[in-house]
Amino acid sequence: MRLVKITERLLAAIPLMLGVAIIVFLFMRMTPGDPVDIMMGQSGAVTAGEIERLRSEFNLDKPLHEQLLLFLGGVARGDLGNSFQRQQPVTRLIAERLPATIELALGALIFGLLVAFPIGVISAVKQNSAIDRLSMAGAFLGISMPSFWLGILLIMLFSVNLKWLPVQGRIGSDIQLQVVTGFYTIDSILTGNWPAFISSLRHLILPSITLGAAVAAIIARVLRSSLLEILRSDYVKLARAKGASETRTVMKHALRNAMIPTVTVLGLQVGVLLGGNMIVEAVFGWPGLGRLVVDAIFNRDFPLVQGAVMVYALTFILANLIVDVLYTYLNPKIEM
């Protein structure tokens, strides 16, 4: 039955993705004025022939419904058009940058979970203790702190003053690394290149903390409150009455059930990770998708922006699908 449920979710994602594509298509038509004129605005003098060529490349010379069909057809084939500024397929440009972005997002997720789990569990078990109050105040600060400012504070402290960690980039400029997967930490392990591994890891630390702080704060709060609720429930009382140790009660009986709301919230956090990624990449000069988009916006490279927004939305939908599947496995009640 679980399989049916999962298939159902997968099928429901298809119209959603179609809708996302349509909205992204409408984005470009929202520009005040002619997109080609705006894009050309920066490059100065161009011939009328050049403008005509661009208009037909973006299908702007065709009626709107035809434009939409051509766009959707392209999306279905994995063709998001050509970058206006770089004259390369948008999909290739995005694919080149995606590993850097995913590496950062995973780094942030790992940091977030590593911090959130012990804090959430300890705060719940020792409710109203000094540790609990302090960590919840910290979590509140983490939620209210804009990531760009946190990143700058971390740079000032750890890079400028203490000089422990690098300010910018993914890897030291003096280090050679053979790229295999595009994930520098993994590539350096695969090629046995230890200096590169250390360097890429050192570059990854501050951006991961910056991006992961809000996730850590939110997950810690959710984990704490759901654990608190469960620790008061009858079956936990029963486990205690039967003489199970406190550690065993929390770890074996309570935590698994507290995971259900936590995983749900984690799904929403993927959106925070993806959006925050643009900001954090800008702060740390991280050469990922977010930087590519922001640069594309300033160069008025509309096809590239369009393609990237689409990839972000699809990643978000996909991540939520994965969370749904996880949720189905964690929650026995869903098995109907």
Binding site: L16, M17, G19, V20, I23, V24, F27, M28, M30, T31, P32, F140, L141, I143, S144, M145, P146, S147, F148, W149, I152, L153, I155, M156, V160, I218, V222, S225, V265, L268, V270, G271, V272, L274, G275, G276, M278, I279, A282, V283, V293, V294, A296, I297, F298, F302, V305, V309, Y312, A313, F316, I317
Partner: protein, 309 residues
């Protein structure tokens, strides 16, 4: 159903009389509960201070927020060597007083926050009430559209819209509200659906009141508290989003002082003038923290059921 004007007036006075007394009792309870949340009170006071600073910005500052003198370039804050009371928080790379710019920056943040959330509330609650009350195809269409917007991470959507609309205040509000209404829609729709099963709605129908009257006069007053709580909690989020967009250079454009762009301008001087980025950042954290603390206190008091994220 034919009722005379005198009759309607009497029922009108009667129902509003009850409502007034209920409100008096509830607000008494509210203040009593609020006293148990000292953090929320502090948050509320801080918010009021920010609002006052924004309103009286010209009275409490003494420099031009947009024009500086290069002679005062990167002047340190008053407590550091070389600082002066004329520039309490120091000066930026163009010699502008940071204190003045931080105070004026509150105008931008609060205006964006209030407008973006305000429009989102009005649109979201109106559509939510319509969808939840009528159900059927109207509900289907709006709900599908809301689901679609939910498929975009908020910041990505706002950045995408700003990319095509171009920067500026109006476009910023448009980009933030285009998706911002969805959460209010979902809340209002859910609440209206559950309210509709209650007897008072049926009773109002029997007395011949119109649908819109029932929604506006009978149902909305019952869900206004949870909407208010969500409004507060979303306000902090909108302010951070505006600051993030301005930080990227997509929001409020220089020289207008906005906290996000001020932090961005200070990035080049982290080594020798840390205060340029730090001060506006502190202003954002202070305001957002106050709003969130206040909002959580309100939630505990008014609507403990509502938990977001």
């Amino acid at each position: 159903m034919a009722t005379t004007t005198a009759q309607t007036d009497a029922t009108w006075r009667y129902t509003w009389g009850i409502r007034w007394r209920l409100w008096r009792r509830n607000s008494g309870e509210f203040w009593r509960d609020l006293k148990k949340h000292p953090a929320a009170i502090i948050g509320g006071v801080v918010i009021i201070l920010y609002v006052l600073a924004a309103i009286f910005a010209p009275q409490i500052t003494w420099h031009n927020p947009e024009l500086g003198n290069l002679r005062n370039r990167l002047l340190p804050p008053v407590w550091m060597e070389g600082g002066s009371w004329d520039f309490p928080l120091g000066a930026d790379a163009q010699g502008r007083d940071i204190y003045t710019r931080v105070v004026y920056g509150a105008r931008v943040s609060l205006a964006v926050g209030v407008l973006a959330v305000g429009i989102s509330v009005i649109v979201g609650v109106a559509l939510g009430a319509l969808a939840g009350y009528s159900r059927g195809s109207v509900d289907d269409v709006i709900s599908r559209f809301a689901d679609l917007l939910m498929a975009f991470p908020f910041l990505i959507f706002a950045i995408g819209m700003m990319a095509f609309l171009g920067p500026g205040f109006t476009n910023l509000i448009l980009a933030l509200t285009f998706k911002g209404w969805v959460e209010f829609f979902r809340l209002a729709r859910g609440e209206i659906i559950s309210e509709k099963t209650r007897e008072y709605v049926e009773a109002a129908r029997v007395t011949g009141r119109k649908h819109w009257q029932i929604i506006v006069h009978e149902m909305l007053p019952n869900i206004v508290q949870s909407i208010f709580v969500l409004t507060t909690l979303r306000m902090g989020f909108m302010i951070v989003t505006e600051a993030s967009l301005s930080f990227l250079g997509l929001g409020i454009q220089p020289p207008t002082p906005a906290w996000g762009s001020m932090v961005a301008e200070g990035r080049n001087y982290l080594l020798n003038a840390w205060w340029v980025s730090t001060m506006p950042g502190l202003a954002i954290v202070g305001l957002v923290l106050a709003i969130n603390v206040f909002g959580e206190g309100l939630r505990d008091i008014l609507d403990p059921r509502l938990k977001i994220e």
